[in-house]
Symmetry: C2
């Protein structure tokens, strides 16, 4: 038996990424073009993500529902900007069994119109507001090229869709959910993310404002890792959704939506992984500890029983008949945060060896102290992983003060470049054409301190540009 070879990360990052995905049994290619199979180790991470995020959504009053999978063409057409954005990339169902449908239907690429179609029936009074619904489901977008977790025709995700009495409440919800995403990605996934506003060009089809979570991968390339949209009343007006307010006047409600996908698993891999495989932040690792016996001895078995009796984190024992070296490599490729090696030599001193997956550091610990050390070490690994990712990310943040400097950095250095920007799509497009970089996000809390680096007119915003997945 042999482990799949992983291409070194610094030799070919793209190849390294797919090698890790396959070697860690996260995904598998399928024979169906554009679709991937999420394998047990990948799906287990998604289950952990769902568990933690879902609890957070519910704590804030959201309820889960399940909307239809299909959208009839006429329904997709109701909101004009929305249909323009999505119609070119949907899968169309035209036949049911042998019969041609009277009206073709697409598989949902996102569910704004489905929620609106429902809300228009159930929202009558301010007493029916807010509606705070979410769903975990599959969506389909007909992508030409696909990469595991990053881009595929089928996407597993969650989409929240809320309706509110007032603009202020809806804007608060948009920002609240943005920060739920931000906190989750920082604190659980150990991803140092930048949050901000998408430009008019890059915002969601039909939204008034789109906020985004921008993560930077090991290679300096951006991954948009979640978005939260404010819709104002545009969809609600298009769908004729109204309610009687507290003064008995007919009003139109204000809407939001927000979503994150299995793409977050791609971000974990590309931020933390190394040449040995996946490295999972302890808080999201389905299995926190793997215990590997070295040699088949009664004392080893007895020690493992003692250790696991007390252990209050998820663990596995690999007592298969593979060699210890093979088991170590397998535990490493899967990214399990801590490995415990239990062998006779260590036991002479009443010790076992703990190995950190993130640094591969070996630590001898008295058997009686394993439980406490594990608790402490999981916490340390989580913090260290975040800080290492933060330092690397920060080392690839640049600021350009004129367009020549911008182009030089863009050409020579991977990462994000901050600039003063006038706000025009023309300058945004020029950057894209000249350098291939796209706008990441407007930094709403920062004030421009110079003119637009492209056109030299008065700047409206500080903004990041970068290459993206």
């Amino acid at each position: 038996m042999k482990l799949t070879k992983i291409t070194p990360r610094d030799e070919d990052f793209a190849k390294w990424y797919t090698d890790v995905c396959m070697a860690a049994n996260l995904v598998s290619y399928s024979n169906i073009k554009g679709s991937m199979i999420i394998c047990p180790n990948g799906y287990a991470i998604w289950e952990e993500i769902q568990k933690i995020m879902d609890a957070e959504f519910k704590k804030l009053g959201h309820q889960n529902v399940q909307m239809p999978l299909f959208i009839p063409e006429s329904l997709l057409n109701v909101e004009k900007d929305h249909v323009k954005g999505f119609a070119p990339e949907v899968a169309w169902v035209t036949h049911g069994g042998e019969e041609e449908l009277e009206e073709k239907m697409c598989v949902r690429p996102t569910s704004e119109v489905l929620f609106c179609d429902y809300y228009k029936n159930v929202i009558k009074s301010y007493r029916d507001l807010p509606k705070l619904y979410n769903q975990w489901c599959t969506i389909v977008r007909w992508e030409k090229t696909t990469r595991p977790f990053l881009r595929s025709r089928e996407i597993l995700w969650q989409e929240g869709h809320t309706m509110h009495e007032t603009e202020e409440e809806a804007l608060n919800e948009t920002l609240q959910m943005l920060h739920v995403y931000e906190d989750f990605q920082r604190n659980v996934l150990a991803l140092p993310v930048i949050v901000g506003l998408k430009t008019e060009k890059e915002k969601f089809a039909g939204a008034v404002k789109t906020y985004t979570i921008e993560a930077m991968m090991y290679d300096g390339v951006a991954l948009q890792n979640g978005t939260s949209h404010y819709f104002g009343q545009d969809f609600a007006k298009a769908f004729n959704i109204t309610f009687l307010d507290r003064n008995n006047n007919l009003q139109t409600p204000y809407q939001t939506s927000w979503g994150t996908t299995t793409r977050m698993i791609g971000a974990i891999i590309m931020t933390h992984g190394d040449d040995h495989g996946l490295v999972l932040p302890p808080k999201i690792a389905p299995t926190k500890v793997i215990i590997i016996p070295i040699g088949d001895d009664e004392k080893v078995t007895k020690t493992i029983n003692e250790i696991t009796k007390d252990l209050d984190v998820t663990y596995e024992i690999d007592d298969s008949n593979k060699s210890p070296g093979f088991k170590f490599a397998e535990a490493e490729v899967k990214g399990i945060p801590i490995r415990i090696e239990v062998g006779l030599r260590d036991l002479e001193n009443d010790e076992v060896t703990l190995v950190r997956r993130d640094t591969l550091e070996k630590i001898k610990v008295k058997t009686s102290e394993v439980k406490n050390k594990i608790t402490e070490l999981l916490d340390t690994i989580q913090k260290d992983m975040y800080n290492r990712a933060l330092n690397r990310r920060n080392s690839m943040l640049y600021e350009a003060h004129d367009y020549e400097e911008f182009k030089t950095i863009a050409k020579e250095k991977p990462g994000f470049i901050k600039i003063n920007w006038c706000g025009s799509e023309e300058c945004e497009n020029k950057i894209k054409d000249d350098t291939g970089l796209k706008s990441r996000c407007i930094l709403e809390e920062e004030t421009p301190d110079g003119n637009c680096v492209v056109c030299n007119k008065k700047a409206a915003h500080k903004i990041y540009f970068g290459k993206q997945y």
Copy 2:
């Protein structure tokens, strides 16, 4: 504000059913033909079902995965019996964006061929077996008529798909999962189910054997509430899946699949519901207890705080400004197992009133004893609900000794009729044509004690017949 009126159950059972579904906010009709919306109260029950069943699957070594949503036509065609069974009822995707697909694809109606297509790539050796995979997902079958939870174009379900070294192991898995379903439905959903083997005519398209869980609704009509299939090597041979066995010989593995759907929610409603609405078995109720304050008094609030401080089951407090009577009715329609009424009159004796949802019995309890009483009462309600359903079900089980008796019972009495049967599809079809009853299941552990009631030839089986949803 008014609660939706519910048609009395004995007046019009079908209307009562949809009234309860709507009044309890379990589902909502959508404007998309054939699709329904699962609303928060309905989805919360599904989440409880998933949590309990998923833990059971994992305890038995199964892992969750996610296979593609689409099946290309050529892949659906690989197993001949299977395609014959499913092709007439699938949704066909023919276009991606503006482009016509080279090969049309259906939205999965079930995933046997997708799992086989994957297994053929990953099963090489006996060391790769067994494969014990499951997925929670949506499937699509193009039904003409739809009823909430019972029949719709989109179905939320779980489907297990396993591969084994030996026939014996695969047969054991088929039966093991059948019994997991049976235990869950009996002990958690309080459904008195009958398990048995489907006839050749009624078995799953492509299976060697299909075992079924047959529940009987309040009106005596059957609901097939889960199936477990043994495939032998038929799919594996069609897909050319082979492995090297322990003696280094090439072998074909043995396969199973097993599934249950949100239809189980329909069974809960139609087995336990009454004229006041839904009645949830405590073990599956997302909220076990609802506390309703009567009057706005400090002493009431204080008592509620004391009670909830100790309570170790899920509860809600309805402190909205609706009238107590309205709140009672709302708690009843939602089927919450126990309601606690906290009012000043009871508090004079240091008491509160507990109301059982299943019997509407009122029980006065000292405030200090609420916690213990709740624990005891939830257990009692669970048992009583099962026994009531069992008694009703048993009162509608018949045995017919000749064909005239069979036809008389079939005409006059709702329920299941047991007969001796020769095993021929001819007799099975005759019963269907004459009475509308379909075979439910063969009782493998019972021995026939007479000739076939239809043709009077030697009987091969004891079997149940009944009308079905």
